[in-house]
């Protein structure tokens, strides 16, 4: 199994969610996040004092999928999240040893 983590623009969330549902991903976890990549942040002015706000609002999506689905899910996710403009985000995956469904106790891919 693989944990796929995506950090994307907040307004791309719906598109990504729909694309993952259409692909058949059963569930996902969404967190509000903030951070920056190469584009850095923006400037705000308060009574003449300019602040560079490095951390930009982002959405972090996490899904765990079976090994054989991982590449396809990443493709689907990237395609749905892309706007072509700066700050579109990053996607990465890491191996997952175990998944347990809390309600039933099932383990492994069955628990997804």
């Amino acid at each position: 199994m693989k944990l796929i983590t995506a950090v994307i623009k907040p307004h791309q969330l719906d598109a990504v969610k729909e694309a993952l549902q259409a692909f058949g991903v059963a569930g996902l976890t969404v967190t509000e996040a903030s951070g920056y990549g190469r584009q850095r942040g923006h400037t705000e002015v308060y009574r003449g004092a300019e602040y560079t706000v490095d951390l930009v609002p982002k959405i972090r999506i996490e899904v765990v999928v079976a090994d054989e689905d991982a590449d396809d899910v990443i493709d689907v996710l990237v395609k749905a999240a892309r706007t072509g403009k700066i700050g579109d985000g990053k996607v990465w995956s890491v191996p997952v040893e175990t998944v347990v469904r809390v309600r039933t106790g099932e383990r492994g891919p069955d628990a997804l």
Binding site: E44, V45, Y46, R47, G48, A49, E50, Y51, V53
Partner: protein, 442 residues
Amino acid sequence: MPDGFSAGDTAFVLISAALVMLMTPGLAFFYGGMVRVKSTLNMLVMSFISLAIVSVLWVLYGYTLSFGTDAFHGLIGNLDHLGMRGIGMNDLTGSIPVTAFAAFQLMFAIITPALISGAIADRAKFAAWSLFIALWVTLVYFPVAHWVFFFDGGHGGWLGDRQGVIDFAGGTAVHINAGVAGLALCLVLGKRVGFKKDPMRPHSLPLVMLGSGLLWFGWFGFNAGSALAANGVAGMAFMNTQVATAAAMLGWLAFEKIKHGAFTSLGAASGAVAGLVAITPACGSVSMLGAVAIGLIAGGICAAAISLKYKLGFDDSLDVVGVHAVGGAVGSLLIGFFATGHVGQTAQGLFYGGGLGQLGKQALGVVVVAVYSFVISWLLGQAIQKTIGFRVTEDIEVAGIDRAEHAESAYDFSAVGASLSRALNAPTLVPAGAETKTEVDA
């Protein structure tokens, strides 16, 4: 009631007093929105505590020191009215009861020290601040109010009644006084941890806007009420207050757009307050066009003045110096140019054929109040710092002063915190038929 009593004037002044009272909570929100989340409550309570402390001191000895018959060369009132002794319900000040006048002036005495608190946001011990308020109103506000506001046919306060300094509603006694005291205190306490390095953005601009709106509303009582009668001067002061404030907002925003490229909400709120401050001394002596000019000038100058703290390196957290000291001085001095001689006072400014005489008097008032306020405030601040300590420790300042000084926090947005508190406290509402078992491991 005795001859000369006016029910209309009395009703107007009592309502004005209530309006001025509302300015202090308004100020609390204006300041409260400008600080970081972790010190919001402290900022609010620093204003609210002034309502408690000054009200009590006013009855004990504040009123008599400010408005008792002059005891010494226009410098201080006598002690005839300690504890409000000798003031009956039928005694009049002009056409209103002394009680109504005392209530109105009390509200000025309350908001003036509250204004100072913005200069030392995030870092003052609450007990030390409370002590400072009590000492400061006693040694600074009450005497200065006597100098400026006490009229007794040439035998009253030395600046207003004897020298002819015009301060209709408190440009010197309230705003320069508080602004300069703020400068003295922020020098005594030192800079906030992270000043110029960490972002110290306002945590809630809607609160700032709400606060400035309440201030603006209450300011009609402050300025128009200072006529102490429901008359033409009050109407003129009311209109002058409105148009100067409007013009100052435009002036501040124009400065900001040119200098920084954006019209900010904080700039709109700050410009309004700067205009209110500047027109305060002048609203009873200038025309409406003069008020527009004063507002525009004050808006631009105050917007420029707030950058002084970065250039000179003092941490006046919420720009009390830039808005109140500078705004008050601008308004007071401009009387020397714009006083028409046809509103509440007969003195004429330079533009109305009065020469430089009135400008000189205004400059005297500005300098005397500024120097007195700075020296005494600095000494009081040092005395408190050296004895009980004025500033919280660095740990507390970084962690947030609200929890350390007040054992509270302004907001709880944490979903985790909410569900934890549900899990840890036995539910009081149980759905019918549900089995409940609430054992919690310690």
